[in-house]
């Protein structure tokens, strides 16, 4: 029987596949090992620099946080001062209302609300 010209005699699919792929089974590259070692050494140095940089950044962040927390104490002080001033104003208002009450009792023709307005807004 004549074999078709495109089918080598006695060939086997698996054998042919193995032969075709075996050509790239191992591809030695001259100088590759030396270049790889240099690349790995560079990577090692880079990672060391990154580790130190990260540690310094963390330390700086902690240092800054201490300053920020200390600044918060001043804000608390300011809030207390404002609260005291507010209580002082309310004490003054109580005085004005008390004075207005006394005036309205002593002079019934005077409107208590008018007295309060005058005392709170001296420009009137």
């Amino acid at each position: 029987m004549n074999q078709p010209m495109n089918q080598p005699a006695g060939h086997d699919f698996d054998q042919d596949l193995a032969r075709a792929l075996a050509q790239d089974r191992a591809v030695p590259v001259p100088g590759f090992a030396a270049r790889a070692v240099l690349a790995i050494q560079a990577d090692r140095r880079r990672r060391t620099v990154l580790r130190w940089g990260s540690a310094l950044t963390t330390a700086a962040a902690c240092f800054l946080a201490v300053f920020v927390l200390q600044g918060g104490a001043d804000d608390a002080l300011a809030q207390r001062a404002r609260a005291l001033a507010a209580s002082d104003e309310s004490a003054q208002l109580s005085d004005i209302l008390g004075f207005a009450d006394e005036l309205s009792v002593l002079t019934p023709v005077i409107d208590r609300h008018s007295v309060v307005d005058v005392l709170i807004n001296p420009d009137l």
Binding site: N6, P8, R19, L21, Q23, D24, V27, F32, A36
Partner: protein
Amino acid sequence: MSPEELTPPEDEEDKRLMSLVASGDDDALRLLVHRHHPRLVGYLRSEVGSQATAEELAMEVFIRLHRAASRWRPEAKLTTYLIHIAHNLVLNEWRRRGRKPTSALDSTPEPGDQSHDSARRVTELDEAFRKAVALLPPEQKTAILLLVQQEMPYEEIAVAMDAPVSSVKTWIHRARTRLRELLKDYYGPA
């Protein structure tokens, strides 16, 4: 002691070199790279189709191996671990390129060649095989390369591809079927 219990000497040598690499021995590192880079580059070249890219990826494999040297467990074969890293890099490379296999061969050697030069026919057939393998889906291509080209057992292929053995066998079966279809001019219908 049965043959299965004996550890091949090259595996023992790999373990020894890896422990030295983990302690910072660059001479051991150079020796390790020299031993393993040919097969790694060969496998990667078959995967990505470019010698330059294969060398770049192989370099990255050894960089990552070095980073993990202190964590590498000697129970795993070093060659399997190297292929595992390489396989992941190949997947990243395909994602980066967005490349998919085409549905037809780019070119096919003339099946009606009248030449009686069997060596030339073998070369054409080899080229046809390589082109056909390049068209396989990624998992099938990797599995068939690791089995046929790198002569790895199914269990090691499964570890390298991070997949069950059953999946590996399925991929290989489908790869063979697809290759027969692509090469039907040489072998007849599958």
